[in-house]
C-alpha cells in the first residue's frame, strides 16, 4: 500500500506568507530567496529565522561576501522580530568571508559542512549567493563550480535534515541558472516602480508539492518586519444564508422615505453604489446608513478615503467611531494595494463583527492606490466586493460622478454591474435654484420605486421630499414646466393609437 511520507510544514512567522506558500514551508526543503538589492531578502530571512529558531530547532546564518555581518546586525536589530537573546543560543551567525577569500567555494562548502556537523542546526541560511556565483565566474568555470556547489549543498543539507535558504541577488530571472533547478522553493522579491511610486511584490515561483497562490503579492516592510498581503480567498462566493441567522432581511438606511423607495430597505448582504456629483450628499447618506446600523445594535466599518470623518460635518459618525461602534480604516500609507485595504477591512469587520461596511469613496480609493494597481482597478474591486460578500456584510460604496446631462451614467468605472443596488444623485436647476434629486435606479431581485425625488440636506441629514411632478426633463439638468394643458398625456394618447 502506498504510504507517503508526511511532510511537516513550518510556519514562517511572516504574516500572510504561509498562505501564499500554500500552508507554510516544507521541512527540509532547499529554498532560494532571490531579488535585486534592497528588496527585503535579508529581512525576510532574518524574520523567518527568529520566528522558526527554538532550542530544539536552532539556526545558523552564514554570511559569505554580501553585506558585512556587523552592518547586517546593526540594521536587522531595528526590526521588532530581532531577538538578541536568541543569538549564540538558538541563532548562530557564522562569517565565511575569510574562507571565501582563502579557499573559494570549496572551502566555503567545507566550513558549512563543519559548522552544520558541529551544531546540527535545523535551519541554515546562506547570505548572499550572488557573491558566490560571481566569484566562481571569475574563476572561469562558473557553471560547473556553482552547480557542483549547490548540488552538494542541497544534498548535504537535506541529509542533515536542515531546512535551507540561499539568499541571492539575481537580476536576470530568465537565466537558466542551475540553482533554480536544484531548489525546492523559489521565492522572488521585487520592487515595482511606476511613476513616483514603489510597490514591493513577492512571488513564489516554485514550491515543490504545494498549492501556492500564484501571481505577485504585495508586501510591506515596517518596524515589525515584513507583511505579505495574501489575496483573500473567495471560495466560489458562497452567499451567506441570512434566513438561517434570523436577522432582518432588509436593512434600514436611516433616511426617511428612502427605505420606502427601496421597497422596504436594502436587502441584507447587498452591495450598493451611491453615485453623484461632488457635494450632493453621498457621504451623508453613507453616515446615515452606519448610524442606523448602530441604532439597531449593529456595528460597521468605514474605509475613508475622503476627508477624515471625524470632522465637524459628521459629528454622528465621529461619535460612532469614538465609541467603537464603527471601525475606521483610514490608511494614508502611500502606494496602497487593494489586497492591503481588503485585509484591513476584513480584519476590522471580524474584530467588530460588523454587518455594515462603507467605502467612501471609490474615487478616493482609486487615488490612494499605487499607480501600478490602477489599470486593474475594476478587476480588483470586483474581487474585493466578492470577498466582502463572503464576510456577510452589507456594503455601501460612494462614487463621485460628474453630472452629465447628455447621458445617464452610474459609475465612472463600469462598476455598476458589480453592485446589487444603485442610488443616483443629481443636481437640477429649477427656478434659478440648484436642487438635488435622488432615484433608486437598480435593486436586484426586488421591486423598488422609480421616482425621481427631490431631497435637501439640513442639520438632521438628508430629507427626501416629493417628486417634481410638474416638471419634466429632470435628467437633462434643466427641467421645464410641463404644459399645463397636459401635452404629455396628449402625446401618450397619440402613441396608443
Amino acid at each position: 500500500m502506498n504510504n507517503p511520507v508526511t511532510i511537516n510544514h513550518l510556519s514562517t512567522g511572516v504574516p500572510g506568507l504561509d498562505d501564499v506558500l500554500g500552508g507554510g514551508l516544507p521541512e527540509f526543503s532547499f529554498n532560494l530567496l532571490a531579488g535585486p538589492p534592497g528588496c527585503g531578502k535579508t529581512t525576510l530571512a532574518h524574520q523567518m529565522m527568529f520566528a522558526l529558531a527554538t532550542p530544539q530547532r536552532s539556526a545558523i546564518y552564514f554570511t559569505v561576501l554580501g553585506e558585512p555581518p556587523l552592518k547586517m546586525l546593526r540594521y536587522q536589530q531595528q526590526f521588532e522580530f530581532f531577538d538578541d537573546k536568541a543569538i549564540n543560543q538558538t541563532v548562530h551567525f557564522v562569517s565565511l568571508s575569510d574562507d571565501m577569500v582563502a579557499g573559494g567555494l570549496k572551502q566555503v562548502l567545507r566550513r558549512i559542512v563543519d559548522e552544520v556537523e558541529g551544531r546540527s542546526p535545523a535551519l541554515v541560511f546562506v547570505d548572499s549567493f550572488r557573491s558566490v556565483m560571481q566569484s566562481s565566474a571569475a574563476e572561469g568555470k562558473m557553471f560547473l563550480d556553482l552547480q557542483h556547489f549547490v548540488q552538494q549543498l542541497g544534498m548535504l543539507m537535506t541529509s542533515w535534515q536542515a531546512t535551507t535558504f540561499l539568499i541571492g541577488e539575481y537580476f536576470n530571472e530568465a537565466d537558466a541558472n542551475p540553482v533554480f533547478t536544484v531548489a525546492d522553493g523559489l521565492i522572488w522579491l521585487r520592487q515595482s516602480v511606476q511613476r513616483n511610486s514603489m510597490v514591493r511584490k513577492l512571488e513564489v515561483r516554485k514550491m515543490r508539492g504545494q498549492p501556492t497562490l500564484p501571481g505577485l503579492h504585495t508586501f510591506r516592510i515596517d518596524a515589525a518586519g515584513m507583511h505579505v498581503f495574501a489575496p483573500a480567498a473567495v471560495p466560489g462566493a458562497v452567499p451567506v444564508d441570512f434566513a438561517a441567522t434570523g436577522a432582518a432581511a432588509r436593512l434600514g438606511m436611516g433616511i426617511d422615505r428612502l427605505d420606502e423607495m427601496l421597497g422596504g430597505g436594502l436587502p441584507r448582504g447587498y452591495s450598493m453604489l451611491v453615485a453623484g456629483p461632488s457635494g450632493s450628499g453621498k457621504s451623508i447618506l453613507a453616515a446615515a446608513f452606519l448610524a442606523e446600523g448602530a441604532r439597531c445594535g449593529e456595528t460597521g466599518v468605514i474605509a475613508a478615503f475622503e476627508q477624515v470623518p471625524s470632522l465637524a460635518h459628521s459629528p454622528i459618525l465621529a461619535e460612532l467611531i469614538d465609541t467603537g461602534r464603527v471601525g475606521l480604516v483610514n490608511n494614508r500609507a502611500p502606494d496602497l494595494s487593494i489586497d492591503e485595504i481588503l485585509l484591513l477591512l476584513v480584519s476590522e469587520v471580524r474584530r467588530l463583527k460588523a454587518t455594515r461596511v462603507v467605502i467612501d469613496s471609490l474615487s478616493g480609493f482609486e487615488l490612494a492606490l499605487a499607480p501600478t494597481f490602477r489599470p486593474d482597478f475594476r478587476e480588483n474591486l470586483s474581487r474585493m466586493i466578492a470577498a466582502l460578500a463572503t464576510e456577510g456584510v452589507t456594503m455601501l460604496m460612494t462614487s463621485e460622478l460628474e453630472d452629465r446631462y447628455t447621458d445617464l451614467r452610474f459609475s465612472p468605472y463600469g462598476t455598476a454591474f458589480m453592485t446589487d443596488a444603485i442610488i443616483v444623485q443629481r443636481y437640477i436647476e429649477v427656478d434659478s435654484r440648484l436642487l438635488r434629486m435622488m432615484a433608486v435606479v437598480k435593486l436586484r431581485g426586488s421591486a423598488h420605486s422609480d421616482e425621481l425625488r427631490l431631497f435637501s440636506i439640513n442639520d438632521h441629514g438628508i430629507q427626501i421630499s416629493e417628486m417634481l411632478t410638474d416638471q419634466e426633463g429632470l435628467l437633462g439638468g434643466r427641467p421645464t414646466r410641463k404644459n399645463p394643458r397636459g401635452l404629455v398625456s396628449e402625446r401618450v394618447g397619440n402613441l396608443r393609437e
Binding site: 558585512p68 555581518p69 546586525l73 546593526r74 536589530q77 538578541d84 543569538i87 551567525f93 562569517s95 575569510d98
Partner: protein, 141 residues
C-alpha cells in the same frame, strides 16, 4: 548602565596595577582578554572586521596613551597580539592598566555604537565575565 560596565574594565585593571601586579602578568591578562574577544567575534563578524575594530579602539585610546599608536601602523587584517604584547611590556604596570583598559573600553563602546548595548553585551559575555570576575578571585587567592 552599559558604559558603567565598560568603565569597570578600566577600574579593574587599574586596581590590579595598584595592587602590585607586575607588568608581564598584566600584559598576559590583557592579551588573553583580546584573544577571547577574537575567538568570540571572528566566527560571527569575520577576522578582518575584528582586526579593524581592534585597530580603531587602539587609535581612539591612543589620544591619551600615545604608545598605543605605534602598534597599529599600516593595514591589518589580523590582530597582531604579539606586537601588542611587546608594546605593553615597554610600559609601567599603571600605564598598561590605563592604556590597555582604555582600548578595551573603546572596543566595547565602538561595538555598542554599531550594534547596540544589548547585542554587544551578549556577544562579549564571556570576555567580560573573565575580565571582571577573575582578577578579584586571583587577588584573594
Amino acid at each position: 548602565m552599559e558604559s558603567q560596565q565598560s568603565h569597570r574594565i578600566v577600574l579593574t585593571l587599574v586596581q590590579r596595577a595598584s595592587d602590585g601586579v607586575g607588568a608581564p602578568e598584566l600584559a598576559d591578562f590583557i592579551v588573553s582578554a583580546w584573544q577571547t574577544i577574537e575567538v568570540s567575534l571572528t566566527p560571527i563578524i569575520g577576522q578582518s572586521s575584528v582586526a579593524t575594530l581592534y585597530k580603531r579602539s587602539c587609535y581612539l585610546a591612543s589620544r591619551k596613551h600615545a604608545w598605543l599608536m605605534d602598534i597599529h601602523d599600516g593595514m591589518q587584517t589580523t590582530m597582531n597580539l604579539a606586537a601588542f604584547k611587546t608594546a605593553l611590556l615597554g610600559q609601567t604596570s599603571t600605564e598598561i592598566a590605563a592604556g590597555a583598559g582604555a582600548a578595551l573600553q573603546m572596543f566595547y563602546e565602538v561595538l555598542t555604537n554599531l550594534v547596540g548595548a544589548s547585542l554587544t553585551e551578549r556577544l562579549l559575555q564571556s570576555v567580560w565575565a573573565g575580565l571582571l570576575a577573575a582578577p578579584a578571585q586571583d587577588k584573594s587567592a
